[in-house]
Amino acid sequence: MEAQGLPDLSARRSRLLGPSDRRGLILSTTSTVVVLAALLAIFWLAPGSAQVRHTFFNPADMWRSFVGDPKAGYYSVGAALWLNIRMFVAAEILILIVALFVAIIRLSTGPVLLPLRVVATVYVDVARGVPLILVIFAIGFGVPALQLQGISSQSAAIYGVAALVFSYSAYVSEVYRAGINAVHRSQVAAARSLGLSQWASMRYVILPQAIRTIIPPLLNDFISLQKDTALVGLLGAIEANKAAEIYSDTVFNYSSYTVAAILFLLLTIPLARFTDHLIARDRARRLAGAEQ
């Protein structure tokens, strides 16, 4: 039985489906511009628009809140961002360490470590189950109330960092676990076959490969952490969002929040692009092996 004749394979593709097609490009650009223009028009022409623009996007208020004026009762949002930065850098370093520790314990198999494994599992469940804001209150108000020597008299930012580390380490430990499990079993076999101990295999062979795989989700969590530092403001620390709130409550204008939002975007967007760059750069190296 002869095969049926093929359709005309050289016919042109439908215009609407080709992004590289010149007309398709013009269409997509035009429709994007039109939709954006329509949204902007709706915003501008709404009856409350002038008031909203003054309340949220007033340049004078944005500048004033960015610079601050303690005598008038509000602080600089820009300067307060420095507290956020210090908090998330300190927290991230501790989280990466604590989470790795928790992950390795949970992945261990010996009977000796069973009690630690149980504790680690309970910890991960609790830390992921309780909202971060409650953890912040518990640590931020509870620990000072215990009136322990030294421990109870730290600044709000310290308690905030402790709460963030407690909460985030659980999530990040799961990311580590997934990454470690994702390293192919053959790598473990090869490492152990050379006589490397379980710990040496983990340290020299498994972890380096696991970490390369999990850098994107780790960076994702880091970006999330940067924004969660805002919650530490609830303990009285003057971080950027708190400073924005102080300004807005004092002057009755929300533009300070816009400033805080912009500042956070300036922090997180470069990090997101950097993450993309790392993913692209690291792809080739992971594909070594028998796939030639």
């Binding site: 013009i26 269409l27 035009t30 429709s31 039109v34 939709v35 223009a37 329509a38 028009a41 709706i42 022409l45 709404a46 009856p47 409350g48 002038a50 008031q51 909203v52 003054h54 309340t55 303690p70 005598k71 008038a72 009762g73 509000y74 602080y75 108000f141 000072p144 109330a145 009136q147 109870s152 008299s153 709000a156 609830l234 303990l235 009285g236 620390a237 003057i238 708190k242 709130e245 102080i246 807005s248 409550d249 004092t250 002057v251 009755f252 204008n253 929300y254």
Partner: protein, 294 residues
């Protein structure tokens, strides 16, 4: 025509339609400057019937405040019981405008959103809100219903109780509530070397005082009085500071014409001694409270 052209027409039609829709549905709170001119037209009748058009809900005076509602401004966290200075003032103003107590409704409005743009869900908000020129750009304030002085509360064991010369005052860590004028007062008048701590609610500030995270809290004298006498054991109101001209006003939506009648009511309550009576009944200002220089 090309698809692009159709898309453009559709989008522009939609946005024009929406804009037109919105602007034709009434401009009660959106406009702003126009309302003040209509206010003068209604000064003639500040009676129950006369103010109906200016109300949020017909036949009812809707008064807002925050949760929890603290003494001595409110009692038992129930604004509707008429007890507490602000509760009593609200009912007194309502009475002047011809509202019976049963015609006063209370609404909950968190402080942070009380000054948000757009129409309000209340006629006025009474919540120890101080007047400032900047704030008056976003909302309209009534005249003063209470002139404010700031005061200090500390634990009896704190050194600030005995050492509070202006130089000593600079060395302590203070705490206060966000959105109050206390922070401005601390920074501009006391000028401490360590940054004060700012808390979300008054309860958080009190907690911080009890756990010794702050040496003293700064708040208005009546609140300070209440905290030190009834709420925090072992605390004391150290002193109050001289007045800086601060006063509390009722908060209205920007350009709300009702403020004119309310101001008349307040003026009447001041002149007939009602406000003074309520002050001495609820705010228990001891004349022996020392006043110190910041």
């Amino acid at each position: 025509m090309t698809v692009a052209a159709w898309a453009a027409i559709a989008a522009l039609t939609a946005s024009a339609g929406l804009a037109g829709c919105a602007s034709s549905s009434g401009s009660s709170a959106g406009a702003g400057a126009g309302a003040t001119s209509s206010a003068s037209a209604s000064t003639a009748s500040c009676t129950f019937a006369g103010v109906q058009d200016e109300l949020y809900g017909k036949g009812v005076l809707t008064v807002a405040t925050d949760q929890p509602a603290y003494p001595p401004w409110f009692e038992n966290n129930k604004p509707g019981n008429g007890q507490g200075y602000e509760s009593a003032v609200a009912y007194a103003v309502a009475a002047q405008l011809g509202f019976k107590p049963s015609q006063v409704k209370w609404a909950y409005e968190p402080f942070d959103s009380s000054y948000a743009p757009g129409p309000k869900k209340f006629d006025f908000d009474i919540n120890e809100i101080s007047y400032s020129a900047q704030r008056a750009q976003a909302v309209t304030f009534s005249d003063s219903y209470y002139d404010v002085q700031q005061a200090l509360v500390a634990l009896k064991s704190s050194p600030i109780v005995t050492k509070h010369s202006p130089e000593d005052l600079k060395t302590y860590v203070y705490g206060d509530q966000v959105g109050t004028t206390s922070l401005a007062f601390i920074n501009s008048q006391i000028q401490p070397t360590q940054t004060p701590k700012v808390f979300e609610t008054l309860n958080d500030v009190k907690q911080a005082l009890q756990t010794k995270q702050i040496a003293a809290l700064v708040t208005d004298t009546p609140t300070a009085q209440y905290i030190s006498s009834s709420e925090i054991p072992g605390s004391v109101m150290v002193a109050q500071f001289p007045s800086t001209g601060e006063h509390y006003g009722l908060l209205f939506a920007k350009g709300n014409p009702l403020v004119t009648c309310v101001n008349k009511a307040l003026a009447t309550l001041k002149s007939n001694g009602t406000l003074a009576k309520l002050t001495s009944k609820y705010l228990q200002i001891y004349t022996s409270v020392p006043t110190i220089k910041p």
